[in-house]
Each structure stands twice: as structure tokens, then as C-alpha cells.
Amino acid sequence: MSFAVLLHYLPSLIAGFGVTVLCWSAGSILGLAIGFAVALLNRLPAPPLRWLLRAYVEILRGTPFLVQLFLLYAGGPYIGLRLSATAAGILGLGLYSSAYFAEIFRAGFAAVPQGQIEAAMSVGMTPGDILWRVTLPIALASTVPAIVNMLVILSKETVVLSIITVPELMYQMQTMAAETFTAFDAIFAMAIFYWLLVEAVSRVGRRLEIKLTAFMAREASA
């Protein structure tokens, strides 16, 4: 692949990367929000609701992301849901990840020691204060590593969006490859690029993780 060719396609590749980042961040935020809501609703003492939420999580975790995307993008219009490829991609990524995030948050809530909640009850804190000041911060801190891990996984899943023609990096790269007959070079470059990206994201994630959970570090100094 010549340098001139690459230069010619550079703007579209950069634009593609922008779409990748957009889908990744918007999808993740959507997934985190829905997942958190699911985990919170799951704590209500309403068995039928829990059943429903369980089904939601199991269905999304039991089916391939690609099939979910097809169902949303190609099947959507047949049930009155007409979305652009990018919107379908973001919504798909959000729904798909929400199931995993819901499980992460559920585990986080379960990991809060009952005694720390009882301590709050014994000083007479209200249920709302206990949730916001005790349960949530402790639960969220314990979920940071799993959330970081999921965000890294999602950054890789964005390439699947190219299959439903979302104009993200992979899609732009394949367009370029098709027009210039450089399929092998292009995919090789993609592999290296994503490898470095994922390594970088993981590294930043670990830093963040250490920072956010510093207070949780055990090892008494005395």
C-alpha cells in the first residue's frame, strides 16, 4: 500500500475512528445506565418484575451480538422501529452491554457486607441515606474492575457494527481495501491498530481502577 493511497483515505479513516469512539462511548453510557437501572429495580421486592428482568438479561446474554444487531436494524422496521445504521449500532451496543452491566452491578450490590449496612441502620440512617451513602459507593467501588474489563470488550465489539454498515473504522478500512485491492494490508493494519488500542485502553483502565479503589486496599499498616 503506497503512502499516497493512505494519505488519500486518511480523512475517511479518521472520520471512521470518530464514529468508532462515538458508538463505543454512547453505547457504553447507554448500557451502564440501563444496566444500573435493571440492577436497582432487581432489588425491589416484586417477584414478577424480577422474573422479567431475569429474562431480559438471559436473552441478551444468550444470543450473539450480531444477531441482536440484525434483529434491530433489519427487523426493526417491521415492528415500526426505523433507525439509521449508526443509531441501531449504538442502541444495539447499549442493549447488549446493559445485560452484562446489570450482572456486574448485581454482583456489586451482593458484595456489600451486611454488617456495614447494619452499622448504618444502628445509628438510625434512613433507607435513602443508607443506599446513597453506604450501599452504592461500596457496591460501585467493587465493580470498577469488571466495568473496565467490559468497556475494553465493548471497544472490540464496535467492529461488528461494520457488518450493518455503520461507517466506523473497520467499515472505512474495508471500503478502502475494496477500492484499492489491498485487503490483506488493510486488515493487517487493523489488527495491529486494535491490538495497540486495546492494550492502551486496558492500561488506562487499570490506572483508573487503582485510583478509584485506593481506599479499598487492605493491608493494615500497623
Binding site: 444470543t63 450473539p64 415492528i79 472490540k156 490483506f184 486488515i187 493487517f188 489488527a191 486494535y194
Partner: protein, 218 residues
């Protein structure tokens, strides 16, 4: 909703599901062999081998599976190697799964308390016997549930080989969608079959975990 479309193509879908299961089984088996080798490399005394193993895991877990699959596909095309698409697909799934399985096996071996090997050494066990009688049985017991989980993940990931034209469950769902102009029904049916398979696998996993846990306490 037109359920008759689903019913009509059910035979077609189920055959495709069998292909998906077969692909995934082959992929997980290949991945196990690769994973065991990579795990051995990462635990070996040789620094170069350890590095190589670490690089393998980092690369194949870092690169999106779709990119890996297309890479293999184009690689074979570039060098004019005439390999059936199915073989390329299994190879791709196996290479990727190998990285994850290597980590599962490594974690399981690390989770086996060092004191047990020491106790066996103190009793005069030969190193090979320690491996065969003490470490391996326990490590496999610890590794079994995550390996079943890895199989579920691989089964879902195998939907991506549809892009290289293999008639597995996702590809066949696409075909039905375009033939009948009813994509909603087609993908819903395909998705439900994936779900059914995975729920069975998860139930089997839970069963195996209970059995192994019970065996561990005796």
C-alpha cells in the same frame, strides 16, 4: 408476525444450528490444545517462551475476532493457499479461544495451593506424579466451569464466521430473511435457537459445577 415462516424454515435452521455447534466444538477443542501449550509456555522456565506466551495471549485477546477471522481469510487468499472456508473459520475460532483458555488454565493452576505440592514433595512424590495425581485433577476441577462458559462465549462468537460465507445459524437466518423479506421473524428464530442452546449449556455447567464441588468435599 408470521410464525409460519419460522415453521417452514425450521428444518433449515436446525441443520444450521448443528453446523454452529460443530464449528464451536471444533474451535473449543483446537483452542484447548493451543491454550494448554500457551499456558505451558507461560509457566515454563524459559524466559523467551514465557514472553512468547504472553504475547500470544495479549495479541489474540486484543484483536477483535472479526478482524482475526478476516485476517486469516485474506492471508490465505494473499498467499494463494486453497483452504476450505470451514477450516479457516475453525482455525480462527481456535486461535482466539486458545488465548482465553490459556488464561483459564493458568488461573486454575495458580489457584491450586502451593502447599499441596510441597506436602506431596515432602512425602517423596516424583514431580510427574505430583502433576498427575495432585495438580492436574484439581486444576481441571477449577477450570471446568470457566471452560464451559468459554464454550458459550465461543458459540456466540461463531456467528461472526457468517461473514466468510459459512452456512451456520446466523448466515442461514440472513438467507431466510432475504428470501422471505421477513427479517424480524428470521432473526428472532435464529436468536431463540442460540438462546436455547446456551441455556442448555449453562444448565449443564451448573450441574457439572455442583457435581465437581460435591466431589471436592469428600
Amino acid at each position: 408476525m408470521r410464525f409460519d415462516i419460522i415453521l417452514h424454515s425450521l428444518g433449515y435452521l436446525l441443520r444450521a444450528a448443528a453446523v454452529t455447534v460443530a464449528l464451536s466444538l471444533a474451535g473449543i477443542a483446537l483452542g484447548f490444545v493451543i491454550g494448554a501449550l500457551v499456558c505451558a509456555a507461560r509457566r515454563s522456565g524459559d524466559r523467551f517462551l514465557r514472553r512468547l506466551g504472553g504475547f500470544y495471549v495479549s495479541f489474540f485477546r486484543g484483536v477483535p475476532l472479526l478482524v482475526q477471522l478476516l485476517f486469516i481469510y485474506y492471508f490465505l487468499a494473499e498467499y494463494g493457499l486453497d483452504v476450505p472456508a470451514v477450516v479457516a473459520a475453525i482455525g480462527g475460532l481456535g486461535l482466539a479461544s486458545g488465548a482465553y483458555q490459556a488464561e483459564i488454565l493458568r488461573g486454575a493452576l495458580n489457584a491450586t495451593p502451593a502447599g499441596q505440592a510441597e506436602a506431596a514433595t515432602a512425602l517423596g512424590f516424583a514431580p510427574f506424579d505430583i502433576w498427575r495425581r495432585i495438580l492436574l485433577p484439581q486444576a481441571l476441577r477449577i477450570a471446568a466451569p470457566p471452560l464451559i462458559n468459554e464454550f458459550i462465549l465461543l458459540l456466540k462468537a461463531s456467528s461472526l464466521v457468517s461473514v466468510v460465507g459459512i452456512a451456520e445459524l446466523t448466515r442461514v437466518s440472513m438467507n431466510i430473511a432475504s428470501m422471505t423479506y421477513r427479517p424480524f421473524e428470521a432473526y428472532l428464530a435464529g436468536g431463540m435457537i442460540y438462546l436455547a442452546i446456551n441455556l442448555c449449556l449453562a444448565a449443564f455447567g451448573a450441574f457439572a459445577e455442583r457435581r465437581l464441588a460435591a466431589g471436592g468435599s469428600t
